[in-house]
């Protein structure tokens, strides 16, 4: 079953990061990706530009609106995602726990709804 991990971190928690810190962080994520690939569960991943560079579009209320900025709810903002193919939720949880983002923020796990309709 496909699962998607949406990675959330509070930008304030990353404010201390230097260029060297980011290089190291990239290596840490590279190792995690390697592990997923080696286990044969890796589908896709991406590292997104920060939330303040985002654009939001909506067609709600029958009117097209384009806004500068992300859809904001809490302090954490979407920073990336992983998509894995594992047998069940327990397997997904085990991999999510190993994701570096779990240390500094939240990892939301959602099963794919592609085959349910």
């Amino acid at each position: 079953m496909r699962y998607t991990f949406l990675l959330y971190t509070d930008p304030a928690d990353l404010a201390h990061m230097t260029q060297d810190d980011w290089v190291k962080e990239k290596q840490v994520y590279g190792a995690y990706i390697g592990a997923l690939q080696e286990a044969g569960v890796f589908i896709d991943t991406d590292w997104l530009h920060p939330a303040d560079t985002a654009t939001t579009l909506t067609l709600k209320d029958g009117e097209k609106r384009v806004q500068d900025g992300p859809f904001a709810e809490t302090r954490e903002t979407l920073g990336g995602f992983f998509t894995v193919d594992v047998p069940d939720l327990d397997a997904a949880l085990a991999w999510a726990e190993k994701c570096p983002a779990a240390k500094t923020g939240k990892v939301e796990i959602r099963a794919s709804a592609m085959n349910s309709v």
Partner: protein
């Protein structure tokens, strides 16, 4: 009445066995309820089968396959095999799996016991609500949502590894 006796003693085992195949507890409950209705209709005339639990399981499984064909929402990945002639009793293992599912960390901990009461013990949602001092409709809705989550999030029907017992049983 023999069907009532079977219902009391076997409900949890039968439901656990049915639900373990698809992860869909609500559908298993419906199929099992239909099977019990069939039993109430046919056993008084034809007599109670030698293996009443096996009979109920077979009827419930056929119901379930029919319902899935009607729904056509889920791809049928495996055909239901022919039931063997020799009676096969549902095992205690499946009830244990169902209990661990009900107590999974991905389910709100307030629902662990109500879920177990409803699925393993066959207690009516109204009675559960009364025991927990919760309005009946609220409890019924929470149970429906929890079973939907179990199905859609892919919570596995499995007894966890012994190393995980402490973590899983503390919920």
């Amino acid at each position: 009445m023999r069907a009532a006796h079977v219902a009391r003693t076997a409900y949890g085992k039968l439901l656990a066995t049915l639900a373990a195949r698809t992860g869909d507890i609500a559908a298993a409950e419906d199929a099992l309820a239909d099977a019990f209705l069939s039993a109430l209709r046919t056993w008084p005339e034809r007599g109670v089968p030698d293996n009443p639990e096996g009979w109920l399981l077979k009827v419930a499984r056929n119901r379930h396959v029919d319902q899935r064909r009607k729904d056509q929402r889920l791809a049928i990945t495996d055909e239901v095999p022919e039931m063997p002639d020799t009676p096969q009793a549902p095992t205690l293992d499946n009830r244990l799996k169902l209990m661990f599912v009900c107590a999974h960390p991905a389910i709100d901990s307030r629902l662990h016991t109500p879920l177990m009461l409803q699925t393993v013990m066959g207690v009516d949602a109204v009675d559960i609500a009364r025991a927990f001092l919760v309005p009946a409709t609220a409890m019924a809705q929470r149970l429906v949502r929890a079973k939907r989550k179990i199905r859609d999030a892919g919570i596995p029907f499995a007894v966890p590894e012994p190393e995980q017992f402490a973590e899983r049983l503390s919920a």
